[in-house]
């Protein structure tokens, strides 16, 4: 790398060993190494499970780590199902609200309120996930049990989605807390892609007599569409990996049921919850690590896709201040 870049730029003098360059590049290469280490350690840790269960791990529905006799019977499908359902609930709630928040902050709020409103969003994003979890367990769970779930059951109880007993712990509550947690993140990415929309677009639209809403609907949102999709993909990547808060409110039961009221589990909640129960069962531990590998793969791809979409947008919008 040194030989290719420097001589062209700085002439012969720079051919001497450049300690400054060396120091900085070592630090930069550490990022590549960390990525490689992640992959290596996850694959290494899950080798036993990969060998033993093979692809059947992804579709297996049983979760019996310590059967009375014989080897463990482990399948990831309940956890994958729980992750997919809770993430979908979270996106369903968080996408419209994030877009609303982003439009409020970028287009609607009076200039004086803009900075404070963004500041509050940033604080919301800064609250640690474990505090969300504690609050979820003692405030949100009873609230869902006593108000939301009972109302849903009264009005929509004929749907399998809202059937069954409810004690507040379950997929719906997990989805709601995930939504609350990704709204500040989703809205901040959306706000910044909306900010990239050129003034001329807005002014053209307003000059034609559009109301503010028409201007946003016809000029801002179509222009920012790619960025908004990227924001959704990135928020999805966050939601799927969120661990502590979900673990505390989902109830942790390996089960595939259409009812959103029933306790279930997600990929990260299984890892967090069962790690201490492994007790020398190596195959069990390895299976938990394989769940980690699946999680890493999903989150990595989601984030990569979202980031690449946003990078493209930067070229288009000519701004480098996105996210």
């Amino acid at each position: 790398m040194q030989r290719r870049i420097l001589p062209r730029r700085a002439g012969k003098k720079a051919r001497r060993p450049d300690l400054f360059w060396a120091l900085l590049s070592v630090a930069a290469v550490v990022i590549l190494i960390i990525t490689a280490i992640n992959l290596y350690a996850l694959i290494n840790g899950s080798t036993a499970s990969l060998r033993y269960f093979g692809l059947g791990f992804l579709v297996g529905t049983d979760w019996v780590p310590n059967p009375p006799e014989g080897p463990p019977l482990l399948g990831a499908l309940p956890a994958i199902y729980g992750s997919v359902v809770t993430t979908l609930i979270a996106l369903l709630l968080a996408v419209p609200i994030s877009l609303g928040v982003a439009l409020f902050q970028a287009e609607l709020a009076p200039r004086r309120l803009r900075a404070p409103s963004i500041f509050l969003s940033e604080l919301l994003a800064a609250v640690p996930s474990i505090v969300y979890g504690l609050w979820g367990l003692f405030v949100l769970v009873p609230f869902m049990r006593d108000y939301v779930n009972t109302q849903l059951k009264t009005w929509l109880g004929f749907l399998p989605l809202f059937s069954g007993p409810t004690n507040g712990l379950g997929m719906l509550t997990a989805g709601v807390i995930l939504a609350i947690m990704i709204i500040p993140y989703g809205s901040s990415v959306m706000r910044e892609v909306i900010a990239v929309v050129p003034r001329s677009q807005r002014e053209g639209s307003l000059a034609l007599g559009a109301t503010r809403w028409e201007m946003i609907r016809t000029s801002v949102i179509p222009y920012a569409r790619t960025g908004i999709i990227a924001a959704i993909v990135l928020a999805l990547g966050r939601a799927i990996g969120e661990t502590m808060a979900v673990t505390m409110v989902i109830g942790n039961v390996a089960r595939i049921s259409p009812s959103l009221f029933l306790p279930a589990e997600t990929i990260p909640s299984v890892i967090a919850n069962e790690f201490t129960e492994v007790a020398g069962n190596d195959l069990y531990l390895s299976a938990l690590f394989e769940l980690g590998l699946i999680l890493f793969a999903i989150a990595f791809l989601m984030n990569l896709a979202g980031r690449i979409l946003i990078t493209r947008l930067q070229f288009k919008g000519g701004s480098d201040r996105v996210a």
């Binding site: 900085l24 990022i31 969003s121 940033e122 604080l123 800064a126 028409e214 990996g241 980690g292």
Partner: protein, 284 residues
């Protein structure tokens, strides 16, 4: 005429509806923040006493005791993380702004992707690398896990701060014949200092609140640590263990620890954000 009027009205109404919807979204999104802060302050305040800060945690369900070991563990592990995360992050961030090219482009992209990798995955990685190798849960491995999380965050914030330094300042330094390294240290880093410090402080606040990477590395402990190779407690692990225990007085403990954690994390956020904003408006 009537049709025109109603169209006009429809446009006005939909515009108003949009404004109401967006404003409502903003306030709905804020409700959890208000509720979290309120609950934590009210329930956490009940746990506070002199013992709470000077004694170690009781067994779960037990009474008396404090959270001294958790405070110690959190600070020690964040310190270890900072020793790894700050130098590597700042140097790599400087590389990105100083030597743009294909490597810089992929490093930046990977750093952004790494910030989105679930923190529990980092816990597993450090478990496999360190804990399984030495057969010991330790404060050191917890600190390394937090350090891994800190690096990409600091890389990005440093890169962004350096990008804001106008290129004329950089070129001015180079044109005077000052070496790249001296230009970087004396001119660029000095100019971008407040931004870089803000980024570091936010990264510290972020890893201070992490739980998942510590589950498999620091493990938690009821005692003060005698060495960095001992298992360590942390505020976040304590909240998890005591918050999910079936005892009333354990819950009070968890809320108390959550109050301390929230004070540190939100306090750090408020201080640096307000300070950096004052600085920006002050220099204009």
């Amino acid at each position: 005429m009537i049709e025109l009027l109603s169209l006009e009205r429809r446009r006005r109404v939909s515009n108003r509806l949009f404004a109401v919807f967006a404003t409502l979204c903003f306030f709905v999104a804020l409700v959890p923040l208000v509720s979290i802060v309120y609950q934590t302050v009210v329930l956490g305040y009940a746990a506070l006493s002199l013992d709470f800060f000077t004694k170690v945690t009781p067994p779960i369900g037990g009474s008396g005791g404090g959270i001294l070991n958790a405070i110690e563990g959190s600070f020690v592990m964040v310190a270890i993380a900072s020793m790894i995360g700050i130098p590597v992050g700042v140097f790599a961030g400087a590389y990105l702004s100083e030597y743009p090219g294909r490597l810089a482009h992929s490093v930046r992209l990977l750093a952004e992707v790494l910030t989105g990798v679930p923190s529990i995955v980092t816990g597993i990685v450090v478990y496999v690398l360190i804990v399984a190798t030495f057969h010991r849960f330790s404060a050191l491995s917890g600190g390394v896990a937090l350090g891994f999380m800190m690096i990409p965050i600091v890389v990005i914030s440093t890169h962004e701060s350096l990008k804001l330094v106008s290129s004329s300042i950089r070129e001015g330094g180079l044109a005077l014949g000052i070496s790249r390294s001296k230009t970087m240290v004396h001119i660029l880093l000095t100019t971008a200092r407040s931004g870089i410090i803000t980024g570091i402080a936010l990264a510290v606040a972020r890893v201070m609140g992490e739980t998942a990477p510590l589950l498999f590395t620091a493990l938690g402990s009821q005692f003060l640590m005698t060495s960095l190779t001992d298992p360590a407690a942390s505020l976040t692990l304590l909240i998890f263990d005591f918050g999910t225990a079936p005892y009333e007085n354990s819950h009070t403990f968890a809320w108390g620890a959550a109050l301390i954690l929230l004070l540190i994390v939100l306090g750090l956020n408020i201080v640096v954000r307000v300070a950096s904003r004052l600085k920006v408006t002050g220099s204009e």
